[in-house]
């Protein structure tokens, strides 16, 4: 999974990918929780 440059360090784009994935998961998860607590999730979606 890890593409390495000559000195063994991870190239920046992949570091950003991992970083963004963590924050994106946090953002999506907390947004869903917020909508759920506000009662804004349509019942039809909950199956």
């Amino acid at each position: 999974m890890t593409a390495k440059s000559k000195n063994g360090a991870k190239p920046l784009p992949e570091r950003r990918l991992r970083l963004n994935e963590d924050w994106l998961a946090t953002l999506v998860g907390l947004s869903i929780l917020g909508l759920a607590l506000l009662g804004w999730i349509p019942k039809g979606v909950l199956w």
Binding site: R15, L19, W23, A25, I32, G39
Partner: protein
């Protein structure tokens, strides 16, 4: 264009991510969603269809991985694996699921479980984690894989393995390997532990604490606890939730250990300042654990002010959706040759750790919960 160097055992899928079209990615996503829908359908209907059989207790991870494996075979035969693989975002799906899991890990559980629950979780997680780590070292399992094995068997299965994977930068194959072992061991334990608890004539609180401390997946803990009885179910859920809270602490500890010990030992370049060390720690820390803790704090606050139960239930449903997509992706990414390359040692480590967990959890539960009433 020169292709980047790939380490042995690393997947081509990520490297080829930039070389596939949006249409193939959309097809891959449709495949994941379709199999996810089929998983949910089976999870909902099989218990009704086969209410008389043990199959009714099979949980969604099993359906999801099985359907994912079938899908993996199909895309392998069709020769489109690398084209659709960018849509198999196992880590994103499971991390989002774990942030939502925070909503059902209430901080006041610690208060309810009191001294016993916290002590059991701390003693058990520490003992099993370090036993697995030690045994993995003795059998020369690679550091990253043994961190995943130790976290998963000692805390909460695949969730903890993903948290640990972020901290130690494990490969997708190592995550898939650990997830496969967790599922293989969790399935029989749902039935074997309640049977053993009955055979050993354990009281319900002791049986519940034993089950909560042993079975890795939270849903399987609830299933096994329910087979024993209501008291056992409550204690099992509390012990499991206390262990889940420790997931964040273990992620921090592994981040520290791998940054300061393992990789410093491998590196010829010493870190010149504390600032660099802190920066390295933060860079590798699994950030979604922050989301997990925030979700837990929000849910605790909402419930303590009386209400929002239906909101938490809706969030739990979405947690299931994301975990289903994650397990489907694990199945789709499964490639037997990569797993066989790890050899028999990790299986021996995981199996031995599971047996050690059984024994030590029984001892601790018997001491702490022998006179306990819900």
């Amino acid at each position: 264009m020169a292709r980047p160097v790939i380490e042995p055992g690393e997947t081509e899928a990520l490297v080829s991510r930039g070389e596939t079209s949006a249409a193939w990615s959309t097809a891959g996503l449709a495949l994941v969603l379709g199999l996810g829908f089929a998983t949910r359908f089976l999870e909902k209907n099989v218990p009704t269809w086969l209410y008389w059989s043990w199959v009714k207790s099979v949980e969604f991870p099993v359906y999801a991985v099985a359907l994912g494996l079938v899908g993996s075979g199909v895309i392998g035969v069709l020769g489109v694996r690398n084209k659709v693989a960018p849509a198999f975002r196992t880590e994103f799906f499971i991390k989002t699921g774990l942030v939502l899991l925070g909503a059902s890990v209430h901080l006041n559980v610690i208060a309810r479980a009191g001294f016993r629950g916290v002590m059991q979780a701390l003693l058990l997680v520490s003992a099993v984690f370090f036993f697995t780590w030690w045994l993995g070292g003795k059998l020369k399992v690679r550091d990253k894989l043994r961190a995943l094995l130790a976290a998963s068997v000692s805390i909460c299965g695949v969730s903890a393995a993903i948290a640990a994977a972020g901290a130690v930068r494990a490969t997708k194959e190592q995550i898939a390997y650990t997830a496969t072992l967790v599922i293989l061991f969790a399935l029989p334990s749902i039935f074997v532990l309640p049977w053993l608890a009955h055979a050993l004539q354990l009281t319900e609180p002791v049986a519940g604490a034993w089950i909560g401390g042993n079975i890795d997946t939270t849903a399987a803990v609830a299933a096994a606890g329910a087979i024993v009885g209501e008291q056992a179910l409550q204690i099992a859920a509390i012990v499991k939730a206390s262990q889940n809270v420790l997931m964040g602490l273990v992620a921090v500890a592994l981040t520290l250990y791998f940054t300061l010990r393992v990789e410093d030992a491998d590196s010829n370049v010493p870190r010149s300042s504390a600032k660099q060390t802190v920066s390295a720690l933060w860079e590798r820390f699994p950030k979604f654990v922050v989301g997990f803790l925030i979700a837990s704090a929000i849910a605790t606050l909402c419930l303590s002010t009386g209400g929002a139960n239906s909101g938490i239930a809706a969030a739990n449903t979405f947690r299931s959706y994301f975990l289903i997509l994650a397990f489907v992706s694990i199945g789709l990414e499964f490639q037997l040759p990569l797993l066989l390359a790890e050899g028999w040692r990790p299986i021996v480590v995981f199996g031995s750790a599971a047996i050690f967990n059984l024994v030590i959890a029984l001892v601790i539960a018997s001491i702490l919960f022998s006179n306990f009433q819900v």
